[in-house]
C-alpha cells in the first residue's frame, strides 16, 4: 500500500497539511519487514509511523490487534492516543485506540486483554507483561505492525534489550509482523537498524530532511557563574528575562536535585507571577500529569525539567530550550535542542547555561561540536544476560517452553544475535536451579523439565511473583513523601531512601518546588509539613548520571592548550589563567595531579578527563592501593574530569599508584568488595530475578527487612565466585559503571608522564569537586579510627561513659 485513503488525505488537506517526503517514504515501504526512520523532532515522525496503520485499518475489515506502539514514556503513550484519536474520530474511521501502561486501571487492562483494540500504545514493561500471560497468543492474534518510538533512547538501555526479546516472542506468535523504528538524529543509524530488525533480516533506513541548523549559544549573564556548584542560581535573572521574551521555554537540568533548586530560585525571582511548572521523574504522577496537561493547553510560560521531558510529548509551542549545566554528551544536547520549535522548517533556538566555570569550558566545547555536527557515541556491547534471565522467566510464566525453540527465538533479537548456546544454557540453569556450584535445590527448582523435555514453573503461583518484579529500570530505593495532617496525606513525590535516612525531624528540603519540613517516617512514607521561608537542605534524588563523552573531553583538553581564550567569557578565561598561574592546566599527553591540604585533611586531585564513571573507578582503585600503602584514604569524589581523594597522609610519589599493570591487578582484586560492584550486582540480581523488589502482600516494613543484596554478593564471592551473576556483574561494571576501558585509554594517552604539583591550598580547578554530591567513603583503617573517635566523643558528651557499667 503506498497511498493514503482519500478520507485521510482530505482530512489532512482540510488542515493545510501536506505529507512530508519521509512520511510518503514510510507509506511506500509499508510492506517491508523492518524500516528505521530518522527524523528531527517536529518532523511528524510519529505520524509517519502510523500512516500505514491508518491506511490499512481504514477499510474496517481487520479484527483484533493490528498495531502495537511502544514508547519509553507512559506520558508519550497517552499523548499519542490523544493525537491519533483526533483524526480517527473526526473522519469517523472504524479504529479503536487505547493505551496500556503501569498507570492503566486494572479493570481497563482486563477489558483490553479480553478484547484488544486495533492500536495499542504501551511501554516495554507493559508489553513484556502482556507476553507473560498464558493467553498471549490470543491477545496478539492478528498483529501486523509494531512501531517503536524513540528507539535511539531505548537502544541505549536494558529496556530496549528487553523490548527486542519481547519482539522476538511476538514474531513467533505473528510471523508476518512488520517492524518500524522511529529515531532522533544519531551517530550510527546502522547500529540501531540491526538492533531493531529480526536477525538477520535487512532494515532499510529512511532519513528525513534534518531541517535548518539550530540557533544555539551561551546565555549571557550580568553575573559570572560561581566557581563551583550545579545550581546556576546566578543565571536566574537572565533566564527570567528569556522566559519573558519567549512564548514557552523548556529549562532542562541534568539532575532532579538541580531542577528543584533552580525552580525554587526561579520562583523567588518571579515577580510577575508567570505560570512556571516543574517536571521530573521523582514527582508524584498526578502532579506531573497536571503540568503536562497545562503545557499542552499552552498555559505555562516555562517548565523546569530533567530527562523526564527528553522524549516524546509534542509540546507544540515551545520556542526556546535552555540547558542548565554542561550537556555531557553532544548527541543528547542536539536531541534536547530539537524540543524547541516543532515547526519543521524553523531553526530550534537554544541557550546553554553553564552552572559553574568549568562547565563554561565544556559548554563552549559542546557548542563547537554541535556546529560541526560531530555527534558522539560509544558502541554498546551484546545484550546483557540478566535481561535474558528475566525473559526466560517471563517465557515460563506464559507456559511450558522448549529450550531449543526459545534459544532460536532469542537469537533473532538484534542484541542477542551472537549469543552462544552455552551462555543461554547457563541463564536457563540459573532460572531453573539458581545455577550454583552447590546443587542445593533439587527439590525446589524454580523451573522443572517435564518428561517431554519442556520447561515449566514448578509452582504456578510463582508466575505472580515474577510478573510483579518485571522490568529493567533500576531506580535507587525511593520512598514516598506525603503531607502530614491532610486527609490521606497528599503525595508530593519520592526521595531516595538513603536521603530520607539522613533526615531528622525539623530538617527542611525541597520537593516539587516547595520547602517542606521533615516530621517523621511512618510506614515507609516520609511525612512532611509545609514550611516556606526556611533555607532548605538539598534532597538527593537519583538523577541519571551520564559521563561526559570521550569526544567532549578531548575537545576540552584541546581548548586548554590555547594561549588565551577569546571565545570564552572573561571570567572563565581569567579563571583558567589563575589556574595556570597557581598550578597548571591539564594536558592531553600528561596526567596532572595536584596535592594540597584542605580542611585538616590531605587531598590529591587527579585530572584524568576520563568521564565520571572511569574517574569513579580510578578513585576506587587508587584508594585501595593507598590503603595498602598506609596512606589512610578516607574517601573520594569523582566528576567527569577529575577524582579528588582525601585522607590522613600526604601522597608524595604518585607514580607507583598509576602503574598500568598494578591498576589492572588492582581491578581484578578490587572487583571484589566495593560499593560500585555491589550496586552493579544489585541491579543484575534484581533484573535476573534473584532479588525480588516486590513480594505478594504489603511492602516490607523495617521489621521484616530482609538481608541486603550486599550480603548475597559477599556470600557468592566467598563460596561461588564463578557464578553466573558474578560474571554478569563483572561484565556490567566493566562496561558501564566501572568503565575501565576509558582508564586504559587515559593511561595510554599519558604513557607514564605524570606531573605532581604540591600546592599550599586547593587549586581553582579542584575547588568545584569539594561541592560534588556522591562522595564515596573508604571503609578502611582510617574510617575505623575515626569511628572509634566519634564513638568515644559521643559517650563523653552524653555522660554515659561515667556510668558504672
Amino acid at each position: 500500500m503506498s497511498s493514503l485513503p482519500s478520507a485521510l488525505q482530505d482530512w489532512f488537506s482540510a488542515r493545510g497539511w501536506s505529507i512530508h517526503p519521509h512520511q510518503q517514504a514510510m507509506l511506500a515501504r509499508a510492506q517491508d519487514s523492518c524500516t528505521l526512520l530518522i527524523a528531527p523532532t517536529g518532523g511528524g515522525k510519529t505520524m509517519a509511523g502510523f500512516l500505514p496503520t491508518l491506511a490499512e485499518l481504514a477499510g474496517g475489515s481487520h479484527e483484533g490487534l493490528h498495531t502495537l506502539y511502544i514508547s519509553p514514556l507512559k506520558a508519550l503513550a497517552a499523548d499519542i492516543k490523544r493525537n491519533l484519536r483526533t483524526p480517527v474520530e473526526e473522519i469517523g474511521l472504524p479504529i479503536r485506540i487505547d493505551d496500556r501502561t503501569g498507570d492503566t486501571p486494572a479493570s481497563r487492562k482486563r477489558r483490553q486483554r479480553a478484547d484488544p483494540p486495533h492500536i495499542l500504545l504501551t511501554t516495554p514493561e507493559s508489553l513484556a507483561l502482556l507476553t507473560s500471560y498464558e493467553d498471549a497468543a490470543r491477545i496478539f492474534k492478528g498483529l501486523q505492525r509494531v512501531v517503536v518510538d524513540e528507539i535511539h533512547a531505548l537502544a541505549e538501555s536494558k529496556r530496549g534489550d528487553q523490548l527486542m526479546l519481547a519482539l522476538a516472542r511476538l514474531q513467533t506468535l505473528c510471523p508476518n509482523l512488520r517492524r518500524v523504528g522511529l529515531s532522533a538524529t544519531v551517530d550510527d543509524p546502522q547500529a540501531i537498524a540491526s538492533y531493531l530488525a529480526r536477525h538477520p533480516d535487512p532494515c532499510e533506513i529512511v532519513l528525513a530532511d534534518p531541517g535548518p541548523a539550530p540557533d544555539i549559544r551561551m546565555l549571557e549573564t550580568a553575573e559570572a557563574p560561581p566557581w563551583a556548584g550545579g545550581g546556576a542560581a546566578y543565571a536566574i535573572p537572565a533566564a527570567m528575562a528569556q522566559i519573558k521574551a519567549h512564548k514557552t521555554t523548556l529549562i532542562f537540568h541534568n539532575t532532579r536535585a538541580q531542577a528543584e533548586i533552580f525552580f525554587h530560585n526561579l520562583w523567588l525571582a518571579n515577580e510577575d507571577s508567570l505560570p512556571i511548572g516543574i517536571h521530573h521523574g521523582s514527582l508524584d504522577r498526578v502532579q506531573r500529569e497536571r503540568v503536562e496537561a497545562a503545557m499542552v493547553r499552552g498555559e505555562l510560560r516555562a517548565i523546569v525539567c530533567t530527562g523526564s521531558l527528553d522524549l516524546g510529548i509534542d509540546w507544540g509551542d515551545v520556542d526556546l530550550v535552555i540547558q542548565i549545566g554542561a550537556p555531557r554528551n553532544v548527541k543528547r544536547l542536539v536531541q534536547r535542542i530539537g524540543r524547541a520549535n516543532h515547526r519543521y522548517n524553523a531553526p530550534s533556538k537554544a541557550l546553554l547555561v553553564p552552572a559553574n566555570r568549568f562547565e563554561v569550558v565544556e559548554c563552549r566545547a559542546a557548542l563547537e561540536a554541535v556546529r560541526e555536527g560531530d555527534l558522539d557515541g560509544e558502541p554498546r556491547g551484546p545484550g546483557p544476560r540478566d535481561v535474558l534471565c528475566q525473559h526466560i522467566l517471563v517465557a515460563a510464566c506464559a507456559g511450558p517452553f522448549d529450550a531449543d525453540g526459545l534459544y532460536a527465538e532469542v537469537t533473532q533479537a538484534g542484541p542477542y544475535a551472537a549469543l552462544p548456546r552455552a551462555a543461554f544454557d547457563a541463564c536457563l540453569d540459573f532460572c531453573a536451579t539458581g545455577g550454583y556450584a552447590l546443587k542445593a535445590y533439587d527439590r525446589w527448582q524454580r523451573l522443572l523439565q517435564r518428561p517431554d523435555g519442556k520447561w515449566q514453573l514448578r509452582d504456578p503461583r510463582a508466575a505472580a511473583r515474577i510478573r510483579m518484579n518485571l522490568g529493567t529500570i533500576q531506580d535507587a530505593d525511593l520512598i514516598k513523601v506525603r503531607l502530614k495532617h491532610s486527609r490521606g496525606g497528599k503525595p508530593l513525590g519520592e526521595v531516595e531512601e538513603a536521603f530520607a535516612a539522613t533526615l531528622t525531624p525539623g530538617d527542611t528540603f525541597l520537593i516539587g518546588g516547595r520547602t517542606v519540613r521533615y516530621e517523621g517516617l511512618r510506614e515507609m512514607t516520609v511525612e512532611v509539613t509545609r514550611n516556606p521561608g526556611r533555607k532548605p537542605k538539598v534532597a538527593v534524588f537519583s538523577g541519571t548520571k551520564f559521563a561526559t563523552s570521550t569526544q567532549l573531553s578531548a575537545r576540552i583538553l584541546a581548548m586548554f592548550r590555547q594561549d588565551s581564550w577569546p571565545s570564552l567569557p572573561r571570567h572563565t578565561a581569567d579563571w583558567l589563567e589563575l589556574q595556570r598561574e597557581v598550578s597548571e592546566l591539564p594536558r592531553a599527553g600528561r596526567l596532572l595531579i595536584e596535592s594540597f591540604p584542605h580542611d585538616s585533611r590531605e587531598h590529591i586531585c587527579i585530572y584524568g578527563f576520563a568521564g565520571r564513571n572511569a574517574q569513579q573507578t580510578l578513585g576506587l582503585l587508587l584508594t585501595k592501593r593507598m590503603e595498602e600503602l598506609g596512606l589512610d584514604p578516607l574517601g573520594f569524589v569523582a566528576t567527569d574530569y577529575a577524582t579528588l581523594i582525601w585522607g590522613l597522609q600526604e601522597v608524595t610519589d604518585p607514580a607507583p599508584l598509576f602503574d598500568p599493570r598494578a591498576l589492572r591487578d588492582g581491578l581484578e582484586g578490587w572487583l571484589a568488595g566495593n560499593a560500585v560492584m555491589k550496586r552493579a550486582f544489585r541491579g543484575a540480581a534484581t533484573i535476573a530475578g534473584l532479588i525480588e523488589r516486590n513480594t505478594p502482600g504489603a511492602r516490607k516494613n523495617g521489621r521484616q527487612a530482609t538481608f541486603s543484596s550486599d550480603i548475597l554478593y559477599d556470600t557468592l564471592r566467598k563460596y561461588d565466585p564463578d557464578h553466573l551473576l558474578m560474571d554478569i556483574t563483572r561484565e556490567e561494571a566493566l562496561r558501564g559503571l566501572v568503565d575501565f576501558g576509558r582508564i586504559e585509554q587515559m593511561l595510554a594517552r599519558i604513557r607514564g608522564r605524570i606531573t605532581l604539583r604540591r600546592l599550599e591550598r586547593i587549586s581553582p580547578l579542584a575547588a568545584p569537586l569539594l561541592l560534588e554530591v556522591g562522595k564515596v567513603p573508604v571503609k578502611g583503617a582510617a574510617e575505623e579510627k575515626l569511628l572509634q573517635q566519634e564513638a568515644a566523643a559521643l559517650m563523653q558528651q552524653s555522660g554515659l561513659d561515667t556510668l558504672p557499667q
Partner: protein, 216 residues
C-alpha cells in the same frame, strides 16, 4: 577478642565484636537469630534461589568463635532455624557441621517465633533459660529485668555507617542477629525505643565492639 565489658544484674558480661555475648565466669557463649536454612525456606515458599551457602557460612563463623573461646555452654537465643521445616531439611554436610559443635558441651536451643519446635539436632530445647540472676528468652518481655534476648536484629547508624548492634540498658540486653542472611531493624524504630531506657547504649559490632548512646 576485643569486646565491651559490662555488668547486667551483677553478671560480668562481654559484648563481642562478632555480635555474640560472652559470660566469662560461666564460660557461656550466647548467639541469637542464626536463621539456619533461610535460603531453603525462601525457595520452598515460591521465592528465588538464593545462594545456598548461608547456613554453612553461619556455622563456620560460629565454629571459629567456639574454637577460640572454648565455651562450656552455648545458648542459641531462638530463631536458630528459619522455620521448623528448615531444621528438618538441613543438608547432611551442615548437619554434621552442627553435630560437631553441639557435642562436647552443653548446648541449649531457646525456642523462637520462627522455630517453636525444630528437629532434634543434639542439645536441649527449652522455652526460656534462667541462669544465676539472668533470664534468656527470644523476645524481650517489657516487664522483665535482668533479661537477655534477641528477635529484633537491632542495627544502628553512626557516621553514616550502619551496623548490627547490641542494645543495653540496666534491665536488658538485646543481641544482634548472627545469621548470614539476616537484615536489621534500626535502633530508631518505636519497637526498640519503647523497650530501651533513655540512657541505653548501642554496642556496634565490627572489628571491635563500639559502645555509643543508642541512636533514637
Amino acid at each position: 577478642m576485643i569486646g565491651f565489658d559490662f555488668t547486667l544484674a551483677g553478671a560480668r558480661l562481654t559484648a563481642l565484636g562478632s555480635g555474640t555475648l560472652w559470660w566469662e565466669e560461666r564460660r557461656l557463649l550466647c548467639v541469637s537469630d542464626l536463621h539456619l536454612g533461610k535460603s531453603e525456606r525462601h525457595i520452598r515458599r515460591g521465592g528465588s534461589a538464593l545462594p545456598p551457602y548461608e547456613t554453612r557460612d553461619t556455622l563456620v563463623r560460629l565454629a571459629e568463635l567456639i574454637a577460640i573461646l572454648q565455651p562450656e555452654t552455648v545458648v542459641c537465643l531462638g530463631d536458630s532455624f528459619d522455620d521448623d521445616a528448615a531444621s528438618r531439611a538441613l543438608p547432611d554436610g551442615e548437619k554434621s557441621q552442627l553435630a560437631a559443635l553441639t557435642q562436647n558441651r552443653r548446648w541449649i536451643w531457646i525456642a523462637g517465633n520462627h522455630d517453636p519446635a525444630p528437629a532434634d539436632l543434639g542439645g536441649e530445647q527449652m522455652a526460656e533459660l534462667h541462669l544465676a540472676s539472668l533470664s534468656f528468652r527470644h523476645i524481650a518481655d517489657p516487664a522483665a529485668s535482668a533479661e537477655v534476648s534477641g528477635h529484633y536484629h537491632p542495627k544502628a547508624r553512626i557516621r553514616s555507617t550502619s551496623r548490627p548492634c547490641f542494645l543495653l540498658d540496666r534491665s536488658r540486653l538485646i543481641l544482634p542477629a548472627f545469621g548470614t542472611y539476616t537484615g536489621g531493624l534500626r535502633s530508631t524504630d518505636p519497637a526498640l525505643t519503647f523497650l530501651m531506657a533513655p540512657d541505653a547504649l548501642a554496642i556496634l559490632t565490627g572489628p571491635q565492639a563500639l559502645p555509643v548512646p543508642m541512636p533514637r
